[in-house]
Amino acid sequence: MNPQAPHDLLFRTLADPTRRALFERLCRDGEQTVGALTAQAGVSQPAVSKHLAALKLAGLVRDRHEGRQTHYTAQLGALGPLIDWTQQMAGFWEGRFDKLEDLLNRMDQ
């Protein structure tokens, strides 16, 4: 197993602007049907469905069938590998700055 494979898939999947726009829309507006997504995507429904299938493969969306409709929701957890280091570092620096302030309080002018 190549440990980088999931990252590669994530990046490749999000590199397509139409797909990225679909994912952004799901992040912003919550669950949507394929029809609702198609209405604003500027591409045909088969194209939207194909993009959604790619997003699903990358774990970025989840689908739910209800009657004849398929509803899609964004899976924000799949973005973990992308946001990781900045969030980790933000937590790290906040903690260090607490220690810095403690130190300054103990230091002579």
């Binding site: 990046f11 973005l79 992308l82 900045t86």
Partner: protein, 144 residues
């Protein structure tokens, strides 16, 4: 900011109001025994081009090089972490900026960089990445 126009680069910004004057804060940022008290054990020397190491309690060692020094105002150094697993490796630059205020100092820390595995993956992507991530992070913060 120039760094924000480079799509593959991501940054962390932490800002804090410090109730101490810039000169005092500067000492804490640039004197090795003081750096050790709040950040990590180190062999820092306040001289541009000086290479030093920051040693974490967890055993990790960061490779650093002083990039900019403007007393009481700005300090920048590289902050690189080599690791065989790219998920842990990091190449970045840390910049501290001190601005005097009525109550003391406004401290701003910006860490800008990328993980090596992301560099390649980001290479072919468009300029839309940066705003995309900004938006996603806003979404994630609200969702948290």
């Amino acid at each position: 900011m120039t760094t924000d126009t480079t799509p593959q680069v991501r940054s962390v910004v932490i800002e804090r109001e410090i109730a101490h004057p810039p000169a005092k804060l500067w000492r804490a940022l640039t004197q090795p025994h003081l750096i050790a008290e709040w950040l990590m054990a180190n062999d820092f020397v306040p001289s541009v081009g000086h290479r030093f190491k920051l040693k974490g309690e967890w055993g990790g060692v960061l490779d650093c090089e002083v990039l900019a020094i403007e007393p009481d105002y700005k300090l920048a150094y590289s902050w690189d972490f080599d690791h065989e697993d790219p998920a842990y490796a990091l190449k970045s630059v840390v910049t501290f900026t001190l601005t005097p205020t009525d109550a003391g100092t406004h401290l701003r820390m910006e860490q800008t960089g990328f993980r090596p595995d992301q560099k390649q993956a980001f290479g072919g992507a468009h300029a839309g990445w940066k705003s995309f991530f900004d938006k996603l992070e806003a979404v994630l913060e609200r969702a948290a």
